[in-house]
C-alpha cells in the first residue's frame, strides 16, 4: 500500500500560497504573485495526477473494488467521546476524480487569469483568493468527516463571496456577493441541521462509519433513525433531505438558484472555476458522497430527482431568453447540474442499478471541462469587447479564431453531439433515467434539445450574426489566455472517451456500459434540431427572434424575467423578514424592552416627585407625621401583629 500522506500537500500548497500572498502579496510580490499562485497550483495538479495514477492504476483496487483509503486523520475537535470533527484525507474514486478536476481546472483558470487579470490593482489579492478557494474545494472533496465537509463547504462559500465581490467598488458586485453568500448560507442551515440529525442518530460524524451504520439494517443506529419520525416522515428522510437542501443551495437547484446568475458579477475566470466547474457541483458531490445512505431512502432520492429535473428544465427555458452571455452560461450550468442531480436520484446502489450514479459523476467530469471552457471563452470575448451583452457582440469569429473554435467545441460538447465529451455522459444519464422513470426521461430529453438551442443561440450571437466593426481590436489576448482554451478544448473532445465506468461507480466495482446507438438517436436528433433552429434564428441578423418571442407572449416574458423568483425572494426578505420581523424586533427592543427599563426609572422619579410633599418644610407637619408614625406602629405592633 502506498503511503498517501503526500496527498495532504495538494490542498496545503494552495493554502500556503493564500497565506503568503494574503499577507505579503500586495507589497512584496505584486505582479509576481500570479506566477507564485500558478506555480504552487501546478505542483498540486501534478501531485493530484500522480495520486490519481496511484489510486486508479496501482493500488486503489482490492478484489476488483475501489477502496476507501483514509490517508490521514486527526481529531480536530472532540465533541464527546464518540463524536468528533476529524481533519483527514479520504481517497476513493470520486474524491480522486474531484481533486483531478479541481486542480486541473483551477490551474487552467490560474493560467488564464495571468493574462485576463493583468494590471489589476489587487492582482495579488485575486490570486490569494483563488488559492483559498482551491484549498477549500480540495479540502471539501477529500473530507473524511461530514463536519469537515461542512467546514470546507463554508470556506468555499466565503471564497466565492470574496471573489464575486472582487470588484468591490461596483455596487452590483457587492450585492451579488452578498446574495450568493446569504442564499447558500440559508441552504447550509439545512445542511447543518441535517448533520446534527444524522450525527446524533449515527453517533458519529465520520463518513465511513456513518455510512456503515446507517446502511446496516441491524445496527441500533439504523433502527433508531428509521423508526423515529416527525410529521409522518422518518428521521432519516428528514436528515437526508436537509443535507440535500445544503447541496441544493451550493449547486443552485430550484428554488435556491437565484444567486448563481448574479454571481456572474465576479471576474469571468472565477465564474469558470467556481460557478461552473467546481463549487457548484459540490452539492452533487455531497449527495454522491452519502449516496449509500441516500440509496436506501427512496423518499429522499425522489426529492433529489424531481428537484434536479425541474431545475434542469427551468434553467434551460430561462437560458433561452437571456442576453447576458455569462448569465446564459450560468443558467446552462444550473441546468446541467440538474442533470447530474436527477441522475443521482434515479440511481440505486451497486451494480447495474448504479448506472445513474456513474453517469452523474461522468457528466460532472466532462461538464467541468466544457463548461469552464465556455466561461473562459466568454471571458476572452468580454476581455475584448468589454461587455457582457450579446447585443454588443457578433461576428467575432474573425477577431478571435482560437476562442471561436474552442467555444464551438464546447457548445457541441454540451449539446451532446458525438463524439464530444458531453455526448457520452449525457447518454448514460438518459439511459439511467429511461430505465427508472419515463417522466424524467422525457424532461431530460426535451431539456437536451433546449440546451443545444440556447447554446448555439449564444454561439451564433457572439461569433456570427452581424458583422462586427471593432476598431480597438487588440486581438485575442495573451498566450496565457489562449493556451488554457486549447487545452480545455482538447479535453472537451476526449474526456468522453475515457472508460469512466471502470473507475467510478456507486460501489467501486467496475461497471460494463455500452453506447446503445439506437437509443442515442433521439437525443442527438433533438440536439441537432436545436442547433438548426438556433442557426436559423441567430446566424444572421433578422427579426425572427422577436417574432418568436412575441408569439410566446407571456411565457417568454416570464422566462425572461426568470419566472419572477427573484421578486418572490425580495418580497419575502424585504417585506416579511425585514418589515415584519426585523423592524418590529428593533422596535420592540427600543420601545418595549428598553422602554421597560426606562419606565422603571421614570416611575421611580414620578413617585419621588409625588411624595415630595411629605417634606413640606413645615416643622409642624413633621411632628404630625412623626406622631402618625407612632400611632401606625402602635396599631400594627400592639393590635394587628400579635
Amino acid at each position: 500500500m502506498t503511503n498517501y500522506a503526500y496527498v495532504s500537500l495538494i490542498p496545503l500548497l494552495p493554502l500556503a500560497c493564500f497565506v503568503v500572498l494574503g499577507l505579503w502579496g500586495r507589497k512584496r510580490f505584486k505582479t509576481f504573485s500570479g506566477i507564485v499562485g500558478t506555480g504552487s497550483l501546478l505542483a498540486s495538479t501534478i501531485l493530484s495526477f500522480y495520486t490519481a495514477y496511484q489510486y486508479f492504476f496501482v493500488d486503489g483496487k482490492v478484489n476488483g473494488v475501489y477502496q476507501h483509503i483514509i490517508a490521514m486523520k486527526y481529531t480536530w475537535l472532540q465533541f464527546s467521546p464518540n463524536v468528533s470533527i476529524d481533519m483527514g484525507i479520504m481517497l476513493d474514486p470520486i474524491s480522486v476524480m474531484m481533486i483531478v478536476v479541481v486542480t486541473f481546472i483551477s490551474l487552467m483558470v490560474h493560467v488564464f487569469s495571468l493574462g485576463y487579470m493583468k494590471g489589476e490593482e489587487r492582482f495579488a489579492t485575486y490570486y490569494a483568493f483563488l488559492s483559498l478557494f482551491t484549498f477549500s474545494m480540495l479540502g471539501l472533496v477529500l473530507s473524511t468527516n461530514i463536519f469537515q465537509i461542512y467546514m470546507f463547504w463554508e470556506l468555499v462559500g466565503v471564497s466565492s463571496y470574496l471573489l464575486i465581490g472582487y470588484y468591490f467598488d461596483k455596487p452590483s458586485a457587492v450585492a451579488a456577493s452578498k446574495k450568493a453568500f446569504i442564499v447558500t448560507r440559508f441552504a447550509d442551515l439545512g445542511f447543518l441541521i441535517g448533520i446534527l440529525i444524522l450525527a446524533f442518530h449515527a453517533e458519529t460524524l465520520d463518513i465511513s462509519t456513518l455510512i456503515e451504520r446507517l446502511t446496516d439494517h441491524q445496527s441500533t443506529q439504523f433502527v433508531s433513525i428509521t423508526t423515529g419520525s416527525l410529521l409522518g416522515v422518518s428521521i432519516l428522510t428528514w436528515g437526508l433531505t436537509l443535507v440535500f437542501i445544503g447541496g441544493a443551495g451550493k449547486s443552485a437547484m430550484f428554488p435556491l438558484h437565484i444567486w448563481l446568475p448574479d454571481a456572474m458579477e465576479g471576474p469571468t475566470p472565477v465564474s469558470a472555476l467556481i460557478h461552473a466547474a467546481t463549487m457548484v457541483v459540490a452539492g452533487v458531490y455531497l449527495v454522491a458522497r452519502l449516496f449509500p445512505v441516500y440509496s436506501i431512502d427512496g423518499a429522499a432520492l425522489d426529492i433529489v430527482t424531481y428537484v434536479g429535473a425541474f431545475s434542469a428544465l427551468l434553467a434551460a427555458v430561462i437560458a433561452c431568453t437571456q442576453t447576458d452571455i455569462k448569465r446564459v452560461l450560468a443558467y446552462s450550468t444550473m441546468s446541467q447540474i440538474g442533470y447530474m442531480m436527477f441522475s443521482l436520484g434515479v440511481s440505486r446502489y451497486g451494480g447495474e442499478n448504479g448506472l445513474g450514479f456513474m453517469a452523474s459523476m461522468f457528466h460532472l467530469f466532462t461538464h467541468a471541462f466544457f463548461k469552464s471552457l465556455l466561461f473562459l471563452g466568454a471571458g476572452a470575448v468580454i476581455h475584448l469587447v468589454h461587455s457582457n451583452d450579446m447585443k454588443d457582440m457578433g461576428g467575432l469569429r474573425k477577431f478571435m479564431p482560437v476562442t471561436h473554435i474552442s467555444f464551438l467545441i464546447a457548445c457541441l460538447a454540451i449539446s451532446g453531439i458525438p463524439p464530444f465529451a458531453g455526448f457520452f455522459s449525457k447518454e448514460e444519464i438518459l439511459t439511467a433515467a429511461f430505465d427508472s422513470n419515463k417522466l424524467i426521461y422525457g424532461v431530460a430529453l426535451f431539456t437536451s434539445g433546449l440546451t443545444a438551442f440556447y447554446m448555439f443561440r449564444l454561439y451564433f450571437s457572439i461569433f456570427w450574426k452581424k458583422e462586427s466593426h471593432l476598431h480597438n481590436a487588440h486581438g485575442e489576448g495573451t498566450s496565457t489566455m489562449k493556451i488554457p482554451l486549447i487545452i480545455l478544448a482538447v479535453c472537451a473532445v476526449i474526456a468522453g472517451l475515457l472508460p469512466f465506468s471502470n473507475f467510478i461507480t456507486s460501489d467501486g466495482a467496475a461497471l460494463e456500459t455500452h453506447i446503445n446507438l439506437v437509443f442515442s438517436i433521439a437525443p442527438v436528433l433533438l440536439a441537432l434540431g436545436g442547433i438548426l433552429l438556433a442557426a436559423n434564428l441567430y446566424k444572421t441578423e433578422n427579426n425572427k427572434p422577436e417574432k418568436v418571442a412575441a408569439a410566446l407572449g407571456g411565457f417568454y416574458k416570464a422566462a425572461h424575467s426568470k419566472f419572477y423568483v427573484d421578486e418572490v425572494y425580495i418580497f419575502v426578505t424585504k417585506k416579511i423578514v425585514f418589515n415584519l420581523i426585523g423592524r418590529p424586533a428593533a422596535w420592540i427592543d427600543k420601545n418595549i424592552v428598553d422602554g421597560l427599563m426606562n419606565l422603571i426609572a421614570s416611575v421611580t422619579e414620578k413617585i419621588s416627585e409625588l411624595i415630595k410633599g411629605l417634606q413640606s418644610g413645615k416643622v409642624q407637619s413633621y411632628t404630625l407625621y412623626f406622631f402618625a408614625g407612632i400611632v401606625g406602629l402602635a396599631a400594627v405592633f400592639i393590635y394587628l401583629w400579635k
Binding site: 409642624q620 407637619s621 404630625l624 402618625a628 407612632i630 400611632v631
Partner: protein, 171 residues
C-alpha cells in the same frame, strides 16, 4: 367624696382647662398667662401628692423662670395685644384627629393595664433627703446625673449667649 378627691378634681379641671386655653387662645400674652395658671395648677397637684419639693421646684423653675423667660421673649418679638394668625383648617383637622386618636389609644392602653405596686414601704420625700441623695455617690446617689445636667446647663448657657448676643460688636 372626700375633700381630697374634690381638691383633686378641681385641680385637674383647672390644669386641663387652663391648658386648653393656653393652646387655643389667639392672644399670645393671654396664652402665656393661661400656661402660667396651668403650671401653677400642676404645682398644686404636686402638693396634693405630697411631694412638696417638686411642687416648689415647679413654681420656682417654671413659674419663676421659664414662663418669665417666655414672657420676656414675647415682649421682644411681638407687638402685644395683636392676635396670632390662625392655623389652616386642614392642619387643625389633622391635629384634632391625631390628638384624639392618640389620646384614645393611650387611654385605652392605660385603663386596661393593671399597674402593680411592688413595695409599700414609703420613703421620706423631704428636702434634706432629696438633697443628700442628689449629691451622693453611693447607693441611690444621683451625683452623676447631677454633673451631667450641670454640663448641659453650661452648654446651654454658652449656646444662648452666642446665639442671642447682639452682633453690634462685630468689627
Amino acid at each position: 367624696m372626700t375633700a381630697s378627691q374634690i381638691i383633686f378634681y378641681i385641680l385637674s379641671a383647672f390644669i386641663l382647662g387652663s391648658g386648653i386655653l393656653a393652646v387655643t387662645t389667639r392672644k399670645i400674652f393671654r396664652s402665656a398667662i393661661w400656661l402660667l395658671f396651668s403650671l401653677i395648677g400642676i404645682a398644686g397637684l404636686y402638693f396634693w401628692l405630697q411631694v412638696e419639693f417638686i411642687a416648689a421646684i415647679q413654681i420656682v423653675v417654671y413659674v419663676g423662670g421659664i414662663v418669665v423667660l417666655i414672657i420676656f421673649s414675647i415682649f421682644l418679638t411681638q407687638k402685644s395685644g395683636s392676635e396670632m394668625p390662625k392655623a389652616s383648617a386642614t392642619r387643625k383637622g389633622f391635629a384634632v384627629a391625631a390628638v384624639l386618636i392618640g389620646f384614645a389609644l393611650v387611654w385605652q392602653l392605660i385603663s386596661h393595664h393593671s399597674f402593680k405596686q411592688t413595695s409599700t414601704t414609703t420613703l421620706d420625700v423631704d428636702v434634706a433627703n432629696i438633697g443628700s441623695q442628689l449629691l451622693s455617690t453611693t447607693d441611690h446617689g444621683y451625683i452623676l446625673p447631677f454633673e451631667v445636667v450641670s454640663i448641659l446647663l453650661l452648654a446651654a448657657m454658652i449656646g444662648c449667649i452666642v446665639i442671642a448676643m447682639k452682633k453690634t460688636e462685630a468689627v
